[in-house]
């Protein structure tokens, strides 16, 4: 389906939802379940909270569907609602922390120096079938500060554009680029020790690289 077909299709479904057809809303949201969940977990970090946030966001989208403006993509709108819900949950759960998270501005001046120069071979896709690998990657992502994590998840996990990311997070486009760049380099450094197998629990240190 092309972008315009998708949009037309979604516009039709939205009309049906507004006319009271609840089933149409299921159809509208179904392709974006993963996207909603990944957005939620990138902010709240734990799966149970992420699921709750995802549910709240979908309910909110349903009750506010008439507020959706067609100049935006439906997926972007959904992600934005999810993102707001997730932040609200964080604020409720940890008001003292929220303040510092929200205003924390990592030093974005100066250059980031890579710590590791190991030569990585291409990663075989089968590696992600392993729970340990997925967990290691998840842990590396959640260990990033929220400022970097959110940009990384929207851009590289969800494949949203720079413009969409900038709209959702309320930051400038150059800022999206800078944060993404730093997030990728930081993540690379955090995952690098793992390529010797050291992050796989119970695995002895291996000289041979996992990929």
């Amino acid at each position: 389906m092309t972008e315009s077909q998708l949009r037309n299709n979604e516009a039709e479904l939205i009309k049906s939802v507004c006319a009271g057809e609840r089933e149409a809303f299921y159809e509208l949201v179904r392709p974006y379940e993963r996207m909603i969940y990944a957005t939620a977990i990138s902010v709240v970090k734990n799966p149970a909270d992420a699921e709750e946030v995802a549910q709240e966001a979908v309910l909110k989208a349903f009750s506010h569907i008439s507020a959706f403006r067609e100049e935006a993509r439906f997926s972007t709108w959904l992600v934005q609602i999810t993102y707001n819900e997730a932040r609200m949950k964080l604020r409720k759960a940890r008001p003292h922390l929220y303040e510092s998270i929200d205003h924390q501005e990592p030093n974005e001046e100066g250059d980031l120096w890579p710590k590791d120069y190991a030569d990585w071979r291409p990663i075989p896709s089968e590696l992600l079938e392993q729970n340990e690998t997925r967990q290691a990657v998840q842990d590396a992502i959640t260990s990033l500060s929220p400022t970097y994590r959110e940009v990384l998840v929207l851009r590289d996990v969800q494949n949203l554009s720079i413009k969409e990311t900038s709209t959702i997070l309320g930051i400038s486009e150059p800022n999206v680029k800078t944060r993404l760049h730093r997030a990728r380099l930081l993540l690379r450094d955090r995952l690098a020790p793992g390529i010797d197998g050291s992050w796989i629990k119970g695995q002895p240190y291996r000289k041979a690289r996992a990929w």
Partner: protein, 86 residues
């Protein structure tokens, strides 16, 4: 050095300059001139090539979709909630 007309010399850049642009390079968000300079640098610098390959791997790894799997029963529970909503 004798250069043909219209031919530009590739101006060398430092590793630090390369790192600054690695993310934009992967996203193809750099000028053709910068791309050419970076590629010349990668040919000569194993460290920067390692940083480039590692960063590309990381981008592929996290974009895979299997990194944040939706929990079992997620859809079911979601639609149940929706059905109950007013």
């Amino acid at each position: 050095m004798v250069r043909k007309e219209g031919e530009m010399a590739t101006i060398e850049i430092s590793c630090v300059e390369v790192w600054r642009e690695i993310s934009n390079y992967l996203n193809e968000e750099i000028s053709p001139e910068m791309r050419e300079r970076m590629e010349a640098h990668f040919k000569a610098c194993a460290h920067c090539t390692a940083v480039l390959d590692g960063t590309r791997n990381v981008v592929e790894l996290i974009g895979d979709g299997r990194v944040f799997p939706v929990p079992d029963g997620f859809s079911k529970r979601l639609y149940k909630k929706l059905q109950k909503s007013p």
